[in-house]
Amino acid sequence: MTVTAEPRAGSPAAGVAGDARRLVDLVFRVREFGIVAVLALLVLVTASIEPRFLHLTNIQFILVDTTVFALLALGETMVVLTRNVDLSIGSVLGLSAFLSADLFGHHPGIPIPLVFLAGLGIGLACGVAIGFLTVVGQVPSLVVTLAALYVIRGIDVLVVGGGQVVASSLPNAFIEIPKKTLLGIPILAVIVAAVVAAGAYYLRSFRSGRELYAIGSNPDAARLAGIPSGRRVFGAFLVSGAVAGIAGVLYAARYGTIDSTAGSGYELQVIAAVVVGGVAIFGGSGSVVGAAFGALLLQTILSALYVLGVSPFWNQAIAGALLLGAIALDRGISLKLASMLRKRRTHLGA
């Protein structure tokens, strides 16, 4: 007798679902336009008050700073899409930044690609551990990554001790990476844009990419539909870890000085960027392009505040307020959407 209840609960009204998807699609595309509009407005207003804001070097700085965050946002988006969260990325970045940069001190003349590979390996190792505990251990990702945030930072502290890597111990070719430009645009920004585009293409057009959305929209339905949820979530954490490892090497190249606090608190800024970029914190919708724009918007805001002479002590509060505003906005949009759909459905019924 209980069997009859099941299909009713699971069966969607097919026609309405199609409409709903189109509507949702539209709203989120508009969301990305919205970010670009806010960005343009911000740049215009700031530049009209303080023209220095539009200096080529300042724009280059913003773009280079954004690359690290946009990369991290790419990984975080994959995880958040599946209705999970990764709080460990700042610590992974810190560990990778120190260990990879330290290679130059221990092995002078080591080829730079090898250092990037090392960073990737460190990130992957962290991602494997976190994915394993989440998927096989069945521990909520919040708990796993909160623990990992401090465990990995603690390992970092034990490894680094009181020491640090300084810029003078790094080869010039390495330090120059973030400074190289192509027609005035930092090459790093171009590469990261390409990576984000590839990520967007993957999530849009690949079966396994679409499955991440399915898992986030309704984990139970996804499992019943035969999607290998465990494997996909594991993969998402792997990507997030790998990306954080690479971002760590970039961080080292960008800042040169690395101690055991490198990247602490980055997870909060990245989650803020991802959510501001329109990725739903409940999972199931959003895009990496939006997340990258969210990262760009956040960096531009911080830079604008700096140029306008606002104390950098305001940065963190602003990131927090943006995060809260963005999730509240998302909630508002989804409520509006739901009521619109309900109205449409009653029209169809009548």
Binding site: G137, Q138, V139, V143, L158, I281, G320, L323, L324, R331
Partner: protein, 338 residues
Amino acid sequence: MALDLRQRLRDALRWEVGLLFALAAVVVFGVDASSQFLTASNFFYLNLSIGEVAIMALPMTLIIVTGEIDLSVASILGMSSALLGDLYHRGLSMPLAIATVLVVGAVAGAFNGFLVTKIGLPSLAVTIGTLTLYRGIAIIILGPETISTFPTRYTNVGVTPVPHTGGYLSYSIAFFIVLAVVFAIVLHATPVGRSLFVMGANEEAARYAGIRVRRTKFLLFALSGVVCALAGILYTFRLSTAVQDNGLGLELSVVTIVLLGGISIFGGRGTIVGVVLAIAVFAGLQNALLLTNFEQRAMGVVTGGLLLLSVLIPNGSSFVRRARDVLRRRALTQEGAS
């Protein structure tokens, strides 16, 4: 029914008994690590080091029992500390400053509660946001300043034992004991407490049963805010210092203690007794490690490990139980077939 009750009692007690064994192991480890471990002065130091975290663990217990979480606790502590320092520095009298800080703490907690219950946002996302926001406000209030000109009458509260306790008991732990008794009675012996468990086990059922889920959760978040502000005041007096990063990262310790105490992260299960035992285990372990000259800044490795274990172990046992059920059912169906 009676059998069910006995079964449930056994299920609940098993975790607490495990914690007792863990506590015994920690004491053995501590005594082995240093001859100072069992001295009165070390016990007092241990009291001091865990007091604020222990206090914050109580409202967190109730919040996690209802199936929510509050990651902003350490930021509310930091914001309260910064505000207390700033208000006093600006010439406000200490009692007035303390009252203001407690009110601001309540407002900060109520804002969490508002976003969760009125706007309907997930508490995880909300409190990650306010974790950032409240710490950000602490940074705005104090910037790089350090305020350490508090009157000794107040800072003594932070560093001297409660009189007539043989020098064992810190004021923070005295506060904690009083609060723990109140929280235990409310959670385990009142209708309100029962309703918290129901909310955590099945929110929809709770609503249909006429429990005011939203209002209760809102009040819990506000309560958590006040209690964290109190912890912030004690923290400030203990260190005689208000800086913007006071208590940074303590949310990990608080969540670890609550989950180690056997409160289910999915809500609906756990006891205050378990949390109190977990505090003892946690504080003892940390103290013993520090006596062996363990790097304090790397303590996160231990805390994080404990957090993982306290969720992995019950998961593991439920995994075993599920596997056993499946095997038993299969055996039964085979019997039926033959």
